[in-house]
């Protein structure tokens, strides 16, 4: 079985070779006074369509159209190649027209969101594994509610069994809000453990006021705090892994519409239509 590293090297070299061949062809065509912008434009359109078909392939799982993993690799490296062809096509100029500006911005948006998504999909999963138990994204709200209920029950026990208000006070002050809290969307990128550490410190510092029975309940609360931390990490990480696609895919459809307009205009004004 080929290692990921050797596959990355092989495909990177292949993409680099293709890019080099394209530059050579582009130079030769320019010297021969051929319409290089038209050639690179059609090539870019073909690449964008192939890249877009990856999503269609997912919708047709019954067709033996190579595995999604093969498509993904093609998507990544043809995507990089597409960026290169885009530079050749535009001549690395800053677009000055309204439509061109929009088109370039859409292309850049798709490319950047794609690259970001690729990075996220390699960077986040190991962090989710290290965080703790894997959770099903759709079940996380239920689990959060269950955790909050368990905490409430523990605090109620502390109040009735130990006749003490230390843990109920802590609950009112910090625990209640913490266990209902939903982490912000970009928290995996910004680091969101400070809230967990703050609450944990508060719990630890309140231990000096607890008797033996309450200490046991505080120990259980600490376990639930860990569970909440994992739940937040799983939620925020999995949400981000889904969210980037909500940027990448709509932008791609927008880009396709703009490309269609661009092609129509080019053909229209070059008297080919």
């Amino acid at each position: 079985m080929k290692s990921f590293l050797s596959r990355r090297w092989t495909l990177s070299l292949l993409a680099a070779g293709l890019a080099l061949a394209l530059v050579l062809a582009w130079q030769l065509a320019r010297i021969a006074l051929r319409p290089v912008a038209v050639y690179t434009g059609w090539l870019l359109l073909a690449l964008v369509l192939i890249l877009t078909f990856f999503n269609a392939r997912k919708k047709l799982p019954f067709l033996p159209l190579l595995s999604a993993s093969t498509w993904m690799q093609a998507h990544i490296y043809l995507g990089w190649l597409g960026c290169f062809v885009f530079v050749l096509h535009t001549g690395a100029r800053i677009p000055d027209g309204g439509l061109e500006g929009l088109l370039a911005a859409a292309f850049a948006g798709v490319a950047v969101s794609g690259a970001l998504g690729l990075w996220l999909s390699r960077w986040l999963p190991p962090r989710l594994v290290r965080s703790g138990e894997s959770l099903v994204y759709e079940r996380i709200p239920v689990l959060r509610h269950r955790l909050a209920e368990e905490v409430k029950e523990l605090v109620r026990r502390a109040e009735t069994e130990a006749q003490s208000s230390t843990l109920p006070d802590l609950y009112q002050r910090v625990l209640h809000a913490y266990f209902l809290r939903v982490p912000p969307p970009l928290s995996p990128l910004t680091g969101d453990d400070h809230e967990f550490h703050r609450v944990k410190l508060e719990l630890e510092s309140s231990r000096r006021y607890l008797n033996a029975a309450e200490q046991e309940l505080a120990g259980q609360l600490a376990t639930l705090l860990e569970a909440k931390r994992n739940l937040d990490t799983q939620l925020a990480g999995q949400r981000l892994l889904k969210l980037w696609l909500f940027v990448h895919i709509p932008l791609t459809y927008g880009l396709l519409v703009l490309i269609a307009a661009h092609v129509w205009l080019v053909l229209h004004y070059s008297h080919r239509l």
Binding site: S3, F4, K58, P64, S69, L124
Partner: protein
């Protein structure tokens, strides 16, 4: 009989659980008789039959009398002409004695349709496209025809399957007739192997069906039965088993026969191990291991070679205050060979490892003297050198392999197509689940959740087990294997929704789902109005030309359907 129980009031936080716990009678050997309607008069009828006259009831211990075995582990069954008793390839947990009448053993297997089975499917692109185009709007919609010809289901859910075209199939040259007093099906029942032939009732036939527990006891305490069962096994299968072992490939027929004569059969663990497994699953690995029957102990003299005939065994060694799993053995693998070879070459060593039964294991024991006399002299010098152990055991200080311990403890080693997900690569996109639903009636046949170890998740998908517990006891044979070691599938048209397979599956990968009509309304029975359900599970996309949709749909190379017998492939996948 239902157990009575009493539940006292328990004080919350009580420190005296044993004095205040719910009390009930402890579980006993015959809590669940094979046939609750069995009467004493039926037992008398059985005991008066010539086959039991030589059984010597006095040799049975008072706690397990022969009468008790027949009362609780056997049932009488009247078969109608042409009724199928067992089918080739099905898994069973019982053997049959012909009390009256005759049965035909089919020498040549008739086409699947004649046996009430689904014909083998050939995957095609057109078929895939048609299924996708005609996919139902609602999950598990009833779109197929009724049950196959030959299947009759009684009101109590009792199923009978009749052979189609009886005169054509039961031609004299194609069958062997078994008559009153003969025993059949015992090798599959005791060896946990698929039935090797289809057996059909010739006319009306009264058969005594003995489940494996009873058969095991009768074999144990009745020398006549033991001689008969072992003799038949020796005659039909043992030499073939031995000849298939690489160690004995070079041996002549006569030598193989000598070895076969000296071989002993041993069985460890429970046949229906899944019930204990389900109970102990939540227990710690130490408790799990302590519950595994010990076959050979580290430090003992290697008095024989153990050849695994079926099931699995754990090879472990002492590691500080616990035991470390070194590897596991499956069908055809041997234990203690290295020690025997080393001893034969002059340096006597004790067993370096212990061997424990994982669930149910059937082993062949070949005495060391026989190995030394007949097998070792035929092995090339290089092979003997490879099999010789060093003076000091290797592997000290290497620690334990977390993933191996996990896979063995959880019995995932049973899988031929275990769904493993590399959680370091999985982005939780659920493309695998969607692809599965799109190719299976809008209802995914697995759950992307399961236990994890070392960053690998074993998802809740059918593993198409080497030892398919789910196939034991299916009343209609709806759950079947495509071929002897092939994938396990459920024929939706034959499934009567009895849940036996779902309850038996140790891994909980078979789901009972309610059927819907074209308007999305539940389909219910005419008699009781209860929803009609059927068993569903992963079929490894048997109908799809591209193979399993889940694997093909994973864009991140995170998913593998692993055959746990192929350790090298698995290791390479983990090392990527």
């Amino acid at each position: 009989m239902a157990k009575t129980s009493s539940r006292p009031t328990i004080q919350a936080g009580s420190q005296a659980p044993y004095t205040q716990a719910t009390k009930q009678a402890g579980p006993e050997r015959w809590d669940k008789p094979f046939d609750p309607d069995m009467k004493e008069v039926d037992v008398d009828l059985m005991l008066s039959h010539p086959i039991f006259r030589t059984t010597a009831p006095e040799k049975f211990p008072p706690s397990i009398p022969l009468r008790g075995i027949l009362r609780n582990d056997a049932r009488l069954h009247q078969y109608m002409p042409g009724e199928i008793i067992v089918r080739r390839g099905d898994y069973g947990h019982s053997a049959f004695v012909i009390m009256d009448g005759a049965v035909k053993v089919l020498h040549k297997e008739p086409p699947a349709e004649l046996l009430g089975r689904r014909p083998q499917v050939r995957p095609s692109l057109w078929g895939s496209f048609k299924r996708w185009w005609n996919r139902p709007h609602f999950a598990e919609q009833v779109t197929r025809g009724g049950p196959p010809p030959g299947l009759q289901v009684g009101r109590g859910g009792e199923a009978r399957i009749f052979l189609q075209d009886v005169p054509g199939v039961l031609g004299a040259d194609r069958t062997i007739t078994l008559r009153e007093g003969e025993l059949f099906g015992e090798i599959a029942a005791l060896g946990r192997t698929p039935r090797t032939a289809t057996v059909v009732a010739e006319g009306e036939a009264l058969l005594l069906e003995i489940r494996w527990q009873g058969l095991r006891e009768i074999r144990k305490y009745s020398p006549a039965w033991k001689e008969q069962i072992d003799g038949r096994y020796r005659e039909r299968s043992l030499k073939r088993h031995l000849a298939e072992t690489p160690l004995m490939w070079n041996l002549s027929d006569e030598t193989l026969q000598l070895i076969a004569d000296a071989t002993r059969f041993e069985t460890y663990g429970e046949f229906d191990w899944h019930t204990t497994y389900q109970r102990l699953r939540e227990a710690g690995p130490r408790e799990l291991m302590e519950n595994e029957p010990l076959i050979a102990r580290e430090g003992d003299y290697p008095n024989g070679l153990l050849l695994v005939r079926s099931g699995f065994a754990r090879v472990s060694s002492r590691y500080n205050h616990g035991e470390r799993t070194e590897r596991y053995l499956g069908k055809g693998q041997v234990f203690s060979l290295h020690e025997i070879v080393t001893g034969w070459r002059g340096q006597h060593v004790a067993l370096r490892h212990s061997l424990r039964a994982l669930g149910y294991v059937d082993v062949l024991f070949i005495p060391t003297a026989v190995i030394e006399e007949h097998i070792l002299p035929t092995l090339p010098r290089e092979q003997l050198a490879e099999l010789t152990l060093p003076a000091q055991p290797a592997g000290e200080g290497k620690g334990a392999d977390e993933l191996l311990e996990f896979m063995v403890a959880q019995r995932f080693i049973n899988g031929r197509a275990t769904m493993l997900i590399d959680m370091d690569r999985c982005t939780r996109c659920d493309d695998c689940v969607r692809a599965c639903a799109a190719t299976h009636d809008n209802n995914p046949r697995f759950i992307r959740q399961g236990p994890e170890a070392g960053g690998v998740m074993v998802a809740g998908a059918c593993m198409h087990c080497i030892d398919p517990v789910c196939m034991i006891g299916c009343p209609t044979g709806a759950i079947y294997r495509e071929n002897i070691e092939g994938l396990v599938d459920i024929d939706a048209d034959t499934c009567i929704g009895c849940s036996i397979c779902a309850n038996s599956c140790p891994y909980g990968t078979i789901q009972m789902v309610a059927l819907h009509d074209e308007d999305g309304l539940p389909v219910v029975t005419e008699e009781t109005g209860a929803p009609i359900r059927r068993a569903t599970k992963c079929d490894l996309c048997i109908d799809e030309p591209g193979g399993p949709a889940c694997v093909n749909a994973c864009p991140h190379d995170a998913l593998l359907r692993a055959d746990m017998r192929e350790g090298d492939k698995l290791a390479a996948w983990l090392r990527r």
